[in-house]
């Protein structure tokens, strides 16, 4: 997965990932009306809105962006129908050749972590194999330690999948826990050392591990330091755009090979049509494409 991601980034010249994090208010009025008319004021209507919206976005972005990152929370919000929309979104993005990073932030122990590992490892029922989630990689939470990570290592290697472990998240209160001072540095640096160590268990062929790290764009100095601490770890970088991160902030998150980073933007791309009066609701996909190209330029610069 990490080699495929690097290839896709180089082919598109665009180290960014589109966060498919729809919220109800973002859905263009015509799609909203169509689904409410068809399904009533129901979670199913919202699920169909999300699917239609995401398919429009994926169609407009699949040749210029290497990957999508649907945030499962936005879908879980709408219960079972929402989860269905998540799975259909991942499936469609995969069909269009995009790398799919499921933003799950799961973290649990032993047999439970092994169950979550089905997200990338698939499942068998009496010998019949199923890949039910269509994800190439997922995000994980490190609070439980290696027990929560270990079951993912095998599918990373056997099926060429990937994981990104939270190290330093982009939100303001990430400091509450992640910045607690421990001997040798703040907690997130200790976690970074663990993630780098775990990464050795699943190296790809281009110098980067299938075990990546989540490092927020909003913490410039920390990201630069982490890059030096974990040279073989690919960074998934949230916090660009709506949360305040800029292209110039994340220059030092890339390795000396110009690789090592994929930057996420969600609202800034998928809701771009809302930020410029020249766009109508029907232009949402074009607006997203233009915003994605602008972001590509910003990061390249």
């Amino acid at each position: 997965m990490i080699d495929r991601l690097i290839d896709k980034i180089e082919k598109t010249g665009n180290p960014s990932v589109v966060g498919l994090d729809p919220v109800y208010e973002m859905i263009p009025a015509n799609i909203r009306k169509e689904m409410l008319d068809s399904y009533g004021k129901t979670p199913k209507a919202v699920a169909e809105m999300f699917i239609a919206f995401n398919k429009g976005l994926i169609g407009a972005l699949c040749d210029i962006a290497p990957a999508v990152k649907p945030q499962i929370a936005m879908y879980e919000k709408y219960g079972l129908e929402g989860v269905r929309a998540y799975i259909e979104t991942a499936s469609y993005a995969k069909e269009k050749g995009m790398v799919v990073i499921g933003d799950l932030k799961r973290g649990d122990i032993a047999t439970t972590a092994a169950a979550y590992a089905a997200h990338i490892g698939g499942v068998t029922v009496e010998g019949e194999a199923f890949d039910l989630w269509n994800e190439d990689a997922v995000t994980l939470n490190p609070y439980m330690g290696f027990d929560g990570i270990e079951p993912f290592i095998k599918p990373c290697n056997d099926l060429d999948k990937g994981i990104f472990v939270l190290v330093k998240t982009s939100n303001p209160s990430s400091a509450d826990v992640q910045d607690i001072e421990a001997p040798g540095g703040p907690l997130f640096e200790r976690v970074a050392a663990l993630v780098a160590e775990w990464g050795k268990l699943a190296m790809g062929g281009k110098g980067y591990s299938r075990v990546g790290a989540v490092v927020g764009a909003t913490y410039k100095e920390q990201g630069e330091k982490l890059r030096k601490m974990m040279p073989s770890t690919f960074f998934l970088v949230p916090g660009y755009g709506a949360q305040g991160g800029k292209g110039s902030d994340i220059k030092g998150f890339f390795g000396p090979d110009g690789r090592g980073c994929i930057v996420n933007s969600s609202r800034g791309i998928i809701a771009a049509y809302k930020n410029d009066r020249k766009y109508s609701d029907a232009d949402f996909a074009d607006a997203a494409r233009n915003a994605a190209l602008k972001m590509k330029g910003d990061i390249a610069g």
Copy 2:
């Protein structure tokens, strides 16, 4: 929720919660055969197995155990059908009067955490309200800090729901991150102080907060210390039984009022029929009831 939970614990005289964490191998052969015959070797068949198994367990346990804790990973493993089984399980337990603690361990930031909060807060579509997950409380991960917790506080108070935040988990490698030494003590004690502080925002009427903590039975001294540090925090205690925790280990996890704790057992109860040759597959629910009564006695002692 926390007051209702305390009431249910006192009514049943049983401070324990049944972990509804089914795995395929646990399913009695008759149920397995029935569902494979009806649905083939498919995730849907497994979902139907889990529903039938859980309904049998809930029916046998609902008058002697106050609560169930389905672990969503076990269900997510089987994709959308699995998630449906989770929701139907929660719904049935609720119908039978049990408190439902969804073991999600979600943790995310800002708008994303707000989306996850729909698990307990419900969702509206154009003014129509839905409670899609049927949970009274959920478990959360603190790694993101207060941003990940805050959106849950309002439904805790407005809808009398609850959360349990991971403090010290029961697994061996919980030490990797949670025991990292920080000024004033290991990380999990720092997190405990935060959780106690957050708990003040959602106090129930019986001296305990709707913001609880997860504290593993496998760490006796730590649990006793945490009880002193956080007297108004209700503990959800995993690690009893199959993971090695005993009733005598957790005596000090209870407060001086004899309250403050609910102890989880999963395999030890739901797969009890596998541990004693006197039981046949058809006895799985009876075996679970007997195991639950035995556990109740062990904790009371």
